[in-house]
């Protein structure tokens, strides 16, 4: 595909790609048929851009770290437990990392992902490489992400083949005993909730 290069590029619009045109045409048709509204599309796009992201999942994780009863409820019925915090739209199972067990989430068939809690998936999560290798050689994949686990640690891979979505409850890092729930949530990353990272201890002050 050729891109129009122009010194005064802002005066000339680049030719729109067929893909972009097709998306806009579909939206236009569905609006015309009153099946969607432009207002709703904008609101939902806005929600994914601003409201729905890893900070939601991080709140769930931080609550589980500070509240053992909540942690139990979360592991027993993730769907109900996240509703307590105002999150929904997903059937959820939460899997917990411990000193002896590390969990890793993948979707080999497509790219199922707990959007409601951690937003849109990163490009690598949707790649054929991650999807095929995470089940086949998880230790190698994790090392490439910088997570080097001894063979004594069991790696449990969760291939999201049905409608349930998986969220990893990472281990609470050492040295965080005095942190508030909000400060703990700041430490939790998207990658840690997929299982390709661990939550690092906060930098010493």
């Amino acid at each position: 595909m050729s891109r129009a290069h122009d010194e005064h590029g802002h005066h000339h619009r680049e030719p729109e790609s067929v893909l972009s045109l097709r998306v806009r045409a579909l939206e236009s048709l569905l609006i015309e048929k009153k099946l969607v509204s432009s207002e709703a599309v904008d609101r939902i796009v806005g929600a994914y851009e601003q409201d729905i992201g890893p900070h939601n999942g991080a709140k769930v994780v931080a609550r589980a770290w500070v509240d053992p009863a909540y942690r139990q409820r979360l592991l027993a019925d993730g769907t109900a437990a996240i509703e307590e915090l105002g999150f929904g739209g997903v059937d959820l199972q939460v899997v917990e990392n411990t000193p002896g067990v590390h969990n890793l989430v993948v979707c080999t068939l497509c790219s199922c992902y707990p959007h409601a809690l951690i937003g849109l998936p990163p490009v690598w999560y949707k790649s054929f490489e991650y999807r095929s290798r995470a089940v086949r050689e998880p230790r190698v994949v994790l090392r490439e992400f910088g997570v080097d686990l001894p063979e004594s640690v069991e790696i449990r891979i969760w291939d999201s083949s049905a409608e349930l979505r998986y969220l990893v409850l990472p281990q609470r890092p050492p040295g965080t005993e005095r942190l508030s729930e909000a400060a703990l949530a700041e430490l939790v990353t998207r990658d840690a909730m997929i299982g390709v990272a661990v939550v690092p201890a906060p930098a010493a002050r």
């Binding site: 097709r22 929600a47 230790r139």
Partner: protein
């Protein structure tokens, strides 16, 4: 989607293709209509003016919040946690959620999720047919043979119709 197109498409191209295909199959839009609208948009006119519809807005936003409807009542589960099962070795032409790498393999029921709509029939207009869904644990060696990594079991969510009972594992091994 033809395999060769699938492999050559980006993630969102695949979603778009699937959505267009469904809308055409269900008679909501036609391909000609879509082509025509693309031409109109390319020439700078959009015949569909933005409109406001509070009820539609509420219905669309609710989808991002409410519990999905995949869980539906069905017959009681045949298997319990700890049961050994064998996955069917089948190669259906249509939709399935039993990945090829896990066909004809032994596993253990890890968790009984409850009754869920069966995508294999639902995707083809043959009804929701909800029935038991399980998390099934497979040892890495069962899936990948001698070159498997140690201590790396794979868990798959599988419907009961993919599964047959298997004899308990030899306790001496």
């Amino acid at each position: 989607m033809a395999p060769i197109d699938y492999l050559g498409s980006s993630y969102y191209e695949r979603w778009l293709d699937g959505n267009v295909r469904l809308l055409v199959e269900k008679g909501v839009i036609t391909r000609e209509e879509l082509e025509r609208r693309m031409a109109q948009l390319a020439s700078g006119t959009d015949p569909a003016p933005p409109h406001s519809d509070p009820k539609l807005l509420e219905r669309m936003l609710r989808v991002t919040k409410e519990r999905p409807h995949y869980r539906q009542p069905g017959p009681p589960p045949r298997f319990a946690t700890g049961d050994r099962v064998l996955t069917r070795n089948d190669a259906p032409v249509g939709h399935t959620r039993l990945p090829r790498y896990a066909r004809g393999k032994h596993g253990v029921i890890d968790r009984v999720h409850g009754s869920y709509i069966f995508p294999d029939t639902n995707a083809h207009g043959q009804g929701e047919q909800p029935h038991a869904l399980y998390s099934v644990r497979f040892d890495a060696a069962e899936l990948w043979g001698g070159s498997a990594e140690p201590c790396a079991p794979v868990h798959l969510d599988l419907w009961e119709r993919y599964l047959e009972p298997a004899a308990p594992a030899r306790s001496t091994s």
